[in-house]
Symmetry: C2
Subunit: 117 residues, 2 copies
Protein backbone atom coordinates (compact mmCIF):
# COMPACT_ATOMS: atom_id res chain seq x y z
CA UNK A 1 0.00 0.00 0.00
CA UNK A 2 1.25 3.44 -0.90
CA UNK A 3 0.72 6.27 1.54
CA UNK A 4 -0.20 9.88 0.95
CA UNK A 5 2.73 11.78 2.45
CA UNK A 6 0.39 14.55 3.55
CA UNK A 7 -1.78 12.50 5.91
CA UNK A 8 -0.79 10.42 8.97
CA UNK A 9 -0.09 6.79 8.13
CA UNK A 10 -2.15 5.49 11.05
CA UNK A 11 -5.18 7.36 9.62
CA UNK A 12 -4.73 5.86 6.17
CA UNK A 13 -4.39 2.32 7.51
CA UNK A 14 -7.38 2.90 9.78
CA UNK A 15 -9.47 4.00 6.80
CA UNK A 16 -8.42 0.90 4.88
CA UNK A 17 -9.61 -1.34 7.73
CA UNK A 18 -12.84 0.64 8.10
CA UNK A 19 -13.51 0.13 4.41
CA UNK A 20 -12.91 -3.61 4.75
CA UNK A 21 -15.36 -3.79 7.62
CA UNK A 22 -18.22 -1.74 6.20
CA UNK A 23 -18.06 -3.53 2.88
CA UNK A 24 -18.11 -6.94 4.56
CA UNK A 25 -14.64 -7.99 3.46
CA UNK A 26 -14.11 -8.36 7.23
CA UNK A 27 -17.06 -10.06 8.88
CA UNK A 28 -18.67 -9.14 12.22
CA UNK A 29 -16.80 -10.81 15.08
CA UNK A 30 -13.84 -11.67 12.86
CA UNK A 31 -10.40 -11.42 14.39
CA UNK A 32 -8.20 -8.73 12.89
CA UNK A 33 -4.42 -9.12 12.46
CA UNK A 34 -2.35 -8.60 15.61
CA UNK A 35 -0.45 -5.37 16.00
CA UNK A 36 2.90 -6.82 14.97
CA UNK A 37 1.30 -8.68 12.07
CA UNK A 38 -0.45 -5.55 10.89
CA UNK A 39 2.87 -3.72 11.01
CA UNK A 40 4.44 -6.32 8.72
CA UNK A 41 1.56 -6.33 6.22
CA UNK A 42 1.48 -2.57 5.82
CA UNK A 43 5.21 -2.13 6.32
CA UNK A 44 4.76 0.28 9.19
CA UNK A 45 6.10 0.51 12.72
CA UNK A 46 4.42 -1.64 15.41
CA UNK A 47 3.78 1.51 17.42
CA UNK A 48 1.94 3.04 14.47
CA UNK A 49 -0.03 -0.19 14.05
CA UNK A 50 -1.03 -0.09 17.70
CA UNK A 51 -2.35 3.41 17.24
CA UNK A 52 -4.47 2.23 14.30
CA UNK A 53 -6.41 -0.10 16.59
CA UNK A 54 -6.59 2.43 19.41
CA UNK A 55 -8.20 4.95 17.08
CA UNK A 56 -10.33 2.38 15.29
CA UNK A 57 -11.80 1.21 18.58
CA UNK A 58 -13.08 4.74 19.24
CA UNK A 59 -15.32 4.45 16.17
CA UNK A 60 -17.02 1.37 17.60
CA UNK A 61 -16.23 -0.72 14.54
CA UNK A 62 -13.93 -3.02 16.50
CA UNK A 63 -13.23 -4.16 20.04
CA UNK A 64 -9.85 -4.85 21.58
CA UNK A 65 -9.41 -7.56 24.22
CA UNK A 66 -6.04 -7.55 25.96
CA UNK A 67 -4.04 -10.68 25.32
CA UNK A 68 -6.51 -11.87 22.70
CA UNK A 69 -6.48 -9.33 19.92
CA UNK A 70 -8.78 -6.92 18.12
CA UNK A 71 -12.08 -8.07 16.63
CA UNK A 72 -14.64 -6.60 14.26
CA UNK A 73 -17.71 -5.58 16.28
CA UNK A 74 -20.52 -8.11 16.35
CA UNK A 75 -23.11 -5.33 16.24
CA UNK A 76 -24.19 -5.26 12.61
CA UNK A 77 -26.32 -2.15 13.06
CA UNK A 78 -23.15 -0.22 13.96
CA UNK A 79 -21.54 -1.42 10.74
CA UNK A 80 -24.56 -0.64 8.60
CA UNK A 81 -24.90 2.86 10.00
CA UNK A 82 -21.17 3.48 9.54
CA UNK A 83 -21.48 2.43 5.91
CA UNK A 84 -24.36 4.86 5.45
CA UNK A 85 -22.40 7.68 7.04
CA UNK A 86 -19.36 6.99 4.87
CA UNK A 87 -21.30 7.02 1.63
CA UNK A 88 -23.31 10.09 2.58
CA UNK A 89 -20.14 11.95 3.54
CA UNK A 90 -18.33 10.93 0.36
CA UNK A 91 -21.16 12.19 -1.83
CA UNK A 92 -21.46 15.40 0.16
CA UNK A 93 -17.73 16.13 -0.06
CA UNK A 94 -17.74 15.42 -3.77
CA UNK A 95 -20.62 17.77 -4.45
CA UNK A 96 -19.06 20.50 -2.32
CA UNK A 97 -15.79 20.20 -4.20
CA UNK A 98 -17.52 20.21 -7.56
CA UNK A 99 -19.56 23.26 -6.53
CA UNK A 100 -16.30 25.04 -5.66
CA UNK A 101 -15.10 24.20 -9.15
CA UNK A 102 -18.25 25.70 -10.62
CA UNK A 103 -20.10 22.50 -11.47
CA UNK A 104 -23.69 21.59 -10.60
CA UNK A 105 -24.90 18.20 -9.33
CA UNK A 106 -26.46 17.68 -12.76
CA UNK A 107 -23.23 18.30 -14.63
CA UNK A 108 -21.36 16.16 -12.10
CA UNK A 109 -23.74 13.25 -12.62
CA UNK A 110 -23.38 13.65 -16.37
CA UNK A 111 -19.59 13.43 -16.14
CA UNK A 112 -19.80 10.27 -14.05
CA UNK A 113 -22.04 8.50 -16.53
CA UNK A 114 -19.97 9.68 -19.48
CA UNK A 115 -16.90 7.97 -17.95
CA UNK A 116 -18.64 4.68 -18.65
CA UNK A 117 -18.89 5.01 -22.41
Amino acid sequence: MEFDANRPIWLQVMNALETDIITGRRKPGEKLPGGRDLALRFEINPNTAARVYQELEKTGLCETRRGMGTFVTGDETVIASARNDFIRQTVKNFLQRMAQLGETPQSAARMILREEE
Copy 2:
Protein backbone atom coordinates in the same frame (compact mmCIF):
# COMPACT_ATOMS: atom_id res chain seq x y z
CA MET B 1 -11.26 29.51 7.19
CA GLU B 2 -11.13 26.32 9.20
CA PHE B 3 -8.30 23.90 8.67
CA ASP B 4 -8.23 20.12 8.60
CA ALA B 5 -5.79 19.22 11.38
CA ASN B 6 -4.58 16.23 9.40
CA ARG B 7 -3.21 18.11 6.39
CA PRO B 8 -0.56 20.84 6.22
CA ILE B 9 -2.03 24.33 6.42
CA TRP B 10 0.10 25.59 3.55
CA LEU B 11 -1.45 22.89 1.33
CA GLN B 12 -4.99 23.83 2.28
CA VAL B 13 -4.41 27.52 1.65
CA MET B 14 -2.70 26.69 -1.63
CA ASN B 15 -5.70 24.64 -2.71
CA ALA B 16 -8.01 27.53 -1.83
CA LEU B 17 -6.02 29.90 -4.04
CA GLU B 18 -5.85 27.34 -6.85
CA THR B 19 -9.62 27.04 -6.71
CA ASP B 20 -10.00 30.81 -6.90
CA ILE B 21 -7.75 30.92 -9.96
CA ILE B 22 -9.21 28.08 -11.97
CA THR B 23 -12.77 29.27 -11.36
CA GLY B 24 -11.94 32.80 -12.46
CA ARG B 25 -12.52 34.42 -9.08
CA ARG B 26 -8.90 35.52 -9.51
CA LYS B 27 -8.26 36.78 -13.03
CA PRO B 28 -5.18 36.09 -15.19
CA GLY B 29 -2.41 38.58 -14.38
CA GLU B 30 -4.17 39.72 -11.20
CA LYS B 31 -1.99 40.52 -8.22
CA LEU B 32 -2.40 38.18 -5.27
CA PRO B 33 -2.17 39.36 -1.64
CA GLY B 34 1.37 39.86 -0.33
CA GLY B 35 2.81 37.26 2.00
CA ARG B 36 2.15 39.23 5.18
CA ASP B 37 -1.33 40.15 3.97
CA LEU B 38 -2.13 36.55 3.15
CA ALA B 39 -0.98 35.58 6.64
CA LEU B 40 -3.43 38.04 8.18
CA ARG B 41 -6.39 36.97 6.02
CA PHE B 42 -5.98 33.28 6.73
CA GLU B 43 -4.69 33.81 10.26
CA ILE B 44 -1.51 31.87 9.62
CA ASN B 45 2.18 32.51 10.10
CA PRO B 46 3.99 34.66 7.51
CA ASN B 47 6.46 31.83 7.01
CA THR B 48 3.60 29.47 6.21
CA ALA B 49 2.12 32.05 3.83
CA ALA B 50 5.47 32.35 2.06
CA ARG B 51 5.52 28.63 1.54
CA VAL B 52 2.06 28.76 -0.02
CA TYR B 53 3.36 30.95 -2.84
CA GLN B 54 6.57 28.97 -3.20
CA GLU B 55 4.58 25.79 -3.75
CA LEU B 56 1.90 27.46 -5.82
CA GLU B 57 4.50 28.83 -8.22
CA LYS B 58 5.65 25.28 -8.95
CA THR B 59 2.22 24.51 -10.41
CA GLY B 60 2.60 27.33 -12.95
CA LEU B 61 -0.64 28.98 -11.86
CA CYS B 62 1.18 32.03 -10.54
CA GLU B 63 4.46 33.88 -10.92
CA THR B 64 6.44 35.58 -8.18
CA ARG B 65 8.46 38.72 -8.85
CA ARG B 66 10.76 39.77 -6.05
CA GLY B 67 9.87 43.13 -4.58
CA MET B 68 6.63 43.25 -6.54
CA GLY B 69 4.54 40.35 -5.37
CA THR B 70 2.89 37.23 -6.70
CA PHE B 71 0.57 37.33 -9.72
CA VAL B 72 -1.88 34.93 -11.36
CA THR B 73 -0.34 33.61 -14.57
CA GLY B 74 -1.34 35.41 -17.73
CA ASP B 75 -1.38 32.15 -19.67
CA GLU B 76 -5.04 31.22 -19.86
CA THR B 77 -4.34 27.85 -21.42
CA VAL B 78 -2.46 26.84 -18.25
CA ILE B 79 -5.47 27.80 -16.18
CA ALA B 80 -7.94 26.01 -18.42
CA SER B 81 -5.90 22.83 -18.44
CA ALA B 82 -5.48 22.99 -14.67
CA ARG B 83 -9.24 23.31 -14.31
CA ASN B 84 -9.71 20.26 -16.50
CA ASP B 85 -7.20 18.26 -14.48
CA PHE B 86 -8.82 19.23 -11.19
CA ILE B 87 -12.30 18.21 -12.27
CA ARG B 88 -11.11 14.99 -13.86
CA GLN B 89 -9.16 14.09 -10.73
CA THR B 90 -12.06 14.91 -8.44
CA VAL B 91 -14.45 12.70 -10.40
CA LYS B 92 -11.90 9.90 -10.59
CA ASN B 93 -11.20 9.97 -6.86
CA PHE B 94 -14.91 10.00 -6.10
CA LEU B 95 -15.61 6.98 -8.28
CA GLN B 96 -12.65 5.08 -6.83
CA ARG B 97 -13.85 5.75 -3.29
CA MET B 98 -17.41 4.77 -4.14
CA ALA B 99 -16.16 1.59 -5.79
CA GLN B 100 -14.27 0.75 -2.60
CA LEU B 101 -17.54 1.20 -0.74
CA GLY B 102 -19.25 -1.18 -3.13
CA GLU B 103 -21.15 1.35 -5.25
CA THR B 104 -21.25 1.59 -9.04
CA PRO B 105 -21.04 4.80 -11.11
CA GLN B 106 -24.74 4.36 -11.85
CA SER B 107 -25.73 4.15 -8.19
CA ALA B 108 -23.41 7.05 -7.41
CA ALA B 109 -25.05 9.22 -10.06
CA ARG B 110 -28.47 8.25 -8.73
CA MET B 111 -27.51 9.34 -5.21
CA ILE B 112 -26.28 12.70 -6.48
CA LEU B 113 -29.50 13.46 -8.32
CA ARG B 114 -31.61 12.27 -5.43
CA GLU B 115 -29.92 14.85 -3.18
CA GLU B 116 -31.67 17.50 -5.22
CA GLU B 117 -35.26 16.50 -4.51
